[in-house]
């Protein structure tokens, strides 16, 4: 069964009094445990689709089911709670909270879960170990390199064991070596944990690391390609 079902999904914005159809009757299914790259030119609707999948934005019309939940039926606070349980989100610019240490950043989403301090600690340490940054747990974001910051951000996204890992150009701000390290990490998560990953990227080489590539053009599905 598909984890994500988009049926005739539309998202319109008004820009200068004119309606812009960012997503135009998009139909798309994403399987549980799959690894999908979303590609397309600027303005094709990739990030908008990712935001809809994360419950960050709302569709104008159409239906979006994630793990059986119709996101349109949830109010703002219900969506927030749903995100905290089902979504791990990785930003292009990491977006770690600058005043918190790596450990505290990773612990942050767990503060919303009813866990004991010991369980929280175990999970944070495990997440930091999975991105090879256990030794940097006390560092503030400004004391980390870009690649390390992104790995902490990934640990933060994973620590709640989300149903869905969403990444918006996660390697867009990294050099090739760090980008490869992040992609290796995503590949390992997918293979070893069966993590469902949806990743927006502009980079063909990065997209090839996914199982399949979904291409959008003008808000419509242009193609779906399996990895070669």
């Amino acid at each position: 069964m598909s984890l994500i079902e988009c049926r005739s999904l539309c998202k319109d914005y008004r820009r200068g009094g004119e309606a812009v159809h960012v997503l135009d009757h998009l139909d798309l299914s994403i399987e549980r445990g799959s690894y999908t790259a979303l590609m397309g030119p600027s303005g094709s609707g990739k990030t908008t689709l990712l935001n809809l999948l994360a419950g960050i934005d709302r569709a104008t019309s159409g239906e979006l089911l994630v793990d059986g939940t119709d996101l349109a039926r949830l109010d703002r606070n219900q969506l927030a709670l749903w995100r905290s349980r089902h979504v791990g989100y990785v930003f292009q610019l990491y977006n770690l909270v600058p005043v918190l240490s790596a450990y505290e950043n990773v612990e942050l989403p767990l503060l919303l879960h009813d866990l004991s301090a010991a369980e929280r600690h175990r999970r944070v340490v495990e997440a930091l170990e999975s991105v090879d940054l256990a030794s940097r747990h006390g560092h503030l974001p400004r004391q980390l390199s870009g690649g390390q910051e992104q790995r902490v951000a990934i640990a933060r996204a994973l620590v709640t064991q989300p149903t869905l890992l969403l990444a918006d150009e996660p390697t867009g701000d990294l050099d090739r070596a760090n980008a490869d390290a992040v992609m290796d990490l995503f590949g390992r998560l997918h293979r070893e944990r069966g993590q469902t990953i949806v990743m927006v990227t502009h980079d063909e080489a990065i997209a090839r690391r996914a199982e399949r590539t979904v291409r959008l053009e003008k808000g419509r599905l242009a193609s779906v390609e399996a990895a070669r």
Partner: protein, 384 residues
């Protein structure tokens, strides 16, 4: 862990890591709270000293149309004639010499009183002995606040207004006039003040009436009695006398209250503006928190918790500073020989701390609401 504790914990971490900002905000709130509490204590002191109360029994007899201890001269023999009037319970002739007749924060007021009259009043002494003072011609019983201000102890010497005395005791009293005076033997002060001249002249009479209801009646009777005499008198209840004598201090206290209110409002405005700017600056952080699953209420709670923490810490610190400063300084506003001292009422400090907490919450109410209502997708556009 409760949801509220999570927000408070996050706010604490954030405040701890933004040390400079936190110290500046807490410091600002602390100084404002200290200022407001100090002004409130002074205001309370002014009210205590100048508001006529129902049970008041003390009258001050002064020379008519004289407004300074240097100018008020009454024959000491008036005491017997006043004592004979109906409704008078006690009369104490008092000679007053001050080091400065104008408004000042450090005036030494000598009050010369007859030994037997002071014995009859059974004053409370924090240190020293009444007998030692009684047997010591140039001895003085120094009020607690004057002693604190001048660093005086039993055995210390005090020189002011050309008069030298030795401290024989530290006086405790509910009356701020006594807490800020040096009580000497009447004859000694008369002799020193007259610079070798004759005694028999006093500055005022402190009259106690037997029935508070007869206060005005007795005052009128005294003034009537001496109306045609060589030294006509003006008799007022003690609080009214203080209010008249210290009118400039009362006016200054009123003005300082206005300044204090202005300062509090300005500080609140600055705090609110700072919190608005801080929250705007942190919109990206809040967008990330909301992406992680923090609800609107959760974001509001974080902002409010930071405001409350700043208000609570600043308020407690400010109240503590005000308490410490006022209790150590022995502050007294003295004018024309009467003193007004701040009253350190614990309720003022509790109220000031509570107001700082509420101000912290109010200052962050709008930023908290704004932070929680912003569209997440718009915030993230700026963040990603």
């Amino acid at each position: 862990m409760s949801a509220l504790m999570t927000r408070i914990r996050y706010a604490l971490r954030s405040a701890r890591r933004q040390r400079l900002r936190t110290v500046a905000l807490v410091g600002g709130v602390a100084l404002t709270t200290a200022l407001a509490a100090a002004i409130a204590c002074i205001d309370l002191g002014v009210r205590d000293a100048t508001t006529t109360r129902a049970g008041e029994t003390r009258l001050i007899v002064y020379r008519e149309n004289r407004f300074c201890p240097f100018a008020s001269a009454l024959p000491q023999r008036y005491d017997r004639q006043i004592a004979e009037l109906p409704g008078v319970a006690a009369v104490v002739p008092v000679k007053i010499v001050v080091s400065n007749c104008r408004a000042s924060l450090d005036v030494v007021t000598f009050r010369g009183v007859p030994v037997e009259d002071l014995r009859a009043m059974a004053p409370r002494l924090a240190a020293g002995s009444l007998d030692a003072w009684a047997g010591h011609g140039n001895g003085a019983l120094v009020g607690r606040e004057l002693a604190a201000r001048r660093g005086l102890r039993v055995g210390s010497s005090l020189t002011a207004a050309g008069i030298d005395v030795v401290v024989d005791g530290i006086l405790e009293s509910d009356d701020p006039q006594w807490r800020n005076s040096a009580l000497t033997h009447l004859a000694f002060l008369q002799e020193r003040a007259a610079r070798g001249g004759t005694g028999g002249i006093v500055t005022q009479f402190d009259v106690t009436v037997s029935d508070p209801a007869r206060l005005e009646e007795v005052a009128r009777a005294i003034d009537e009695r001496f109306k045609a005499d060589e030294a006509p008198t003006a008799t007022r209840p003690q609080t009214a006398f203080v209010a008249r004598a210290a009118r400039d201090v009362v006016a200054l206290a009123g003005f300082s209250s206005l300044i204090g209110i202005g300062a509090v409002l300005a500080a609140f405005g600055l705090l609110a503006t700072t919190m608005v700017n801080v929250t705007r600056h942190r919109s990206r952080e809040f967008a990330v928190l909301r992406t992680l699953g923090f609800t609107d209420g959760g974001i509001s709670a974080i902002v409010l918790a930071e405001g409350a923490l700043v208000g609570a810490f600043g308020g407690l610190l400010g109240a503590g500073l005000a308490w410490l400063g006022l209790s150590r300084a022995g502050l007294a506003f003295t004018m024309e020989g009467v003193s007004i001292t701040p009253r350190l009422d614990p309720s003022i400090f509790i109220l000031a701390s509570a107001c700082a907490l509420v101000a912290g919450l109010l200052a962050t109410a709008i930023p908290a609401w704004t932070a929680s209502r912003a569209r997440l997708v718009d915030l993230l556009r700026g963040a990603s």
